[in-house]
């Protein structure tokens, strides 16, 4: 199913146009309040946009004069709140979708058990929703959405409350079940986007600020948000004298015209960190102030202003860094990729 989406919700400041190809998984990224949930609500027919059109293949779902009700859209939605029906057991909750689509009790329960197993919640089948933990409830809700066998699946941060121990297994399940399905996945986790999504859309302030194949967006982020989640550094400005905003780099693709807007992108691991500016060799030297330190395994990511550098734990210790410490980020121009925007 091919989703064409176009909607304006004025009072939430949302104005989004996007397409999802048949069988494609689209990840929607963006900061809190960007309009991600609103987008899903419009697609699911829970919210009538002020203007807009939602089309699934040739079927108009939302259009001027047309509004297909939610239950007829064959769109399943899993929102941030699991909303398990409190009067049904976990098993009956998951069997709800199949039963609603006409399956017999026995078949529906079999399907429900299958999906509960897939999300690692088989042992909860006979509990009431009030008797499971927050993460367990979210897993059950995921099973319930999957069991409904929709043609378009809308997932709103499905894994935010799940523990890391089940995440890989669940991601695998999702990969398998999302393959060949048309899916819109709202997520804060760049790993989900990388592993599950074919394409990525980044929303900011209710508008699409970036869109493209996952790898391309994360490797060539143009928006600060995308750069942030991709773990890449991004400096935007205009291209002048071989530099963007004072950062020298190598243009990728056609060289931007002088004065044209461009972004410079470089990996945190390409950044060297000094307490004082190093002399001599031809580097970009960016004086910054440390704002945050994030251990990452045997590395530490040093965030400073809007940039990041990855150094070893030993180096970090030797540099005696703490938030507020002034440092110099140095990066070789050959490590900096420049894109026209």
């Amino acid at each position: 199913m091919n989703l064409r989406f176009e909607a304006v919700v004025a009072d939430r400041g949302v104005d989004v146009t996007l397409d999802v190809a048949d069988g494609e998984t689209l990840a929607v990224l963006g900061p809190n309040g960007a309009g991600k949930s609103t987008l899903l609500e419009v697609a699911a027919g829970l919210l009538r946009p002020d203007r807009g059109r939602v089309t699934l293949d040739d079927r108009e779902l939302t259009a001027p004069g047309t509004f297909v009700p939610t239950h007829d859209r064959r769109i399943a939605m899993l929102a941030q709140d699991p909303l398990l029906f409190p009067h049904l057991t976990v098993l009956e909750n998951v069997a709800f979708g199949p039963r609603s689509r006409g399956a017999g009790r026995r078949d529906a329960h079999a399907a429900a058990r299958h999906w509960l197993g897939e999300v690692g919640a088989a042992d909860l089948a006979d509990r009431r929703p009030g008797q499971v933990s927050g993460g367990q409830a979210q897993r059950v809700a995921l099973a319930r959405a999957l069991a409904a066998d929709p043609v378009l699946l809308l997932l709103d941060e499905p894994m935010a409350a799940l523990d890391v121990a089940v995440l890989p297994a669940l991601r695998q399940t999702l990969r398998r079940v999302l393959a060949g399905r048309t899916v819109v996945l709202v997520t804060h986790d760049v790993l989900d986007a990388l592993l599950l999504a074919d394409r990525v859309v980044v929303l900011e302030g209710g508008r699409v600020v970036e869109a493209g194949p996952t790898a391309a967006v994360l490797e060539r982020p143009r928006s600060a948000f995308a750069a942030r989640i991709a773990g890449l550094n991004l400096v935007s400005g205009s291209w002048r004298d071989g530099a963007v905003g004072g950062v020298r780099g190598i243009p990728v693709g056609p060289e931007p015209a002088s004065g044209a807007p461009a972004v410079a992108v470089f990996r945190p691991s390409a950044v060297s960190v000094f307490r004082e500016a190093p002399g001599g060799s031809p580097r970009n030297s960016l004086p910054v102030t440390v704002t945050d330190l994030e251990p990452r395994g045997d590395q530490v990511r040093i965030r400073a202003d809007h940039l990041a550098a990855d150094v070893t734990v030993q180096s970090a210790a030797e540099l005696d860094l703490a938030p507020g410490t002034p440092v110099v980020f140095a990066v070789k121009a050959s490590e900096v990729a420049v894109y026209g925007t």
Binding site: A44, L46, P69, T70, H71, D72, R74, I75, A76, M77, A79, D81, L83, F85, P86, H87, L88, F96, G97, R99, S100, R101, R144, A145, A148, P150
Partner: protein, 255 residues
């Protein structure tokens, strides 16, 4: 967790409601009660009351629940007016309600001719008792269920719809179970109100033993000749009501 001082007004309130019941119970000649209760007239009245109240409650559920759903879940112009009007039997003195029913279903009423053609004589029959009870009890049910629907919100219904459940399925498998507590208390209220109904019944249905003389009418009649007996018989009503309310609560907490 609740403020301690709340117990004081709660106790005063409870005492205010319970003391009169104690006062009644204290006056009853318990020895006479047995004869009274087992008299044919009392048994007829009790049985008639139970039957008609049960049917009236059923009618309230059948027609009142949809009304509550329409009021709580849709909006249409004039909805506020309709809601107020539907609640009116609450405020109408029951006798006036009885007159209104006569004006509607009586021989000379609005629908009298139509009913006559169909060979239906509603007024002064057991049917009239049921109609009178339904009329006065309906608002209780509607108010209870509408309140429950509003408090429950639509989030679960939305979730069900997104799983592909059509409105009827959502209604049956999500909405109704979710508001079950409200439904039960609405039904209990409606049943209790039906059981105690007097004014509309006597006006619209009359008071004929075994046909239209329900327990409250029997009590009223007894009061003409023997106030103490009337009071004693009303204790029977009280016991029946307590049993019904108790059973409903039990059933509800078991569900």
């Amino acid at each position: 967790m609740i403020p301690r001082w709340l117990y004081a007004p709660a106790a005063v309130g409870a005492a205010f409601v319970l003391l009169p019941l104690v006062a009644i119970a204290a006056r009853v000649e318990w020895t006479d009660l047995f004869d009274l209760v087992t008299s044919q007239a009392s048994k007829d009245a009790l049985w008639l009351s139970l039957r008609t109240s049960a049917i009236a409650t059923l009618l309230c559920l059948l027609f009142g629940t949809p009304m509550a759903v329409v009021l709580a879940r849709t909006s249409f112009p004039g909805q506020g007016v309709v809601r107020s009007l539907v609640l009116l039997p609450l405020v109408l003195p029951p006798v006036v309600g009885g007159i209104a029913l006569l004006y509607t279903f009586g021989r000379r009423g609005l629908l009298g001719h139509e009913l006559d053609v169909l060979g239906l004589q509603v007024a002064f029959s057991t049917t009239a008792v049921v109609l009178a009870q339904t009329f006065v009890a309906m608002p209780f049910l509607v108010v209870s269920i509408e309140g429950a629907l509003r408090t429950a919100g639509q989030r679960y219904e939305v979730a069900a719809a997104s799983l592909g459940a059509r409105p009827t399925t959502v209604f049956r498998r999500v909405t109704l179970p979710l508001v079950l507590p409200g439904l039960v208390s609405g039904a209990v209220l409606a049943f209790a109100r039906s059981l105690g109904e007097f004014g509309a019944t006597i006006t619209f249905a009359g008071s004929l033993q075994g046909v239209t003389r329900t327990l409250p009418l029997e009590i009223y009649q007894l009061r003409e000749t023997d106030v103490d007996a009337a009071v004693a018989l009303s204790l029977v009503l009280v016991v029946v009501a307590v049993l019904v309310i108790g059973l409903a609560r039990q059933g509800r907490s078991a569900a």
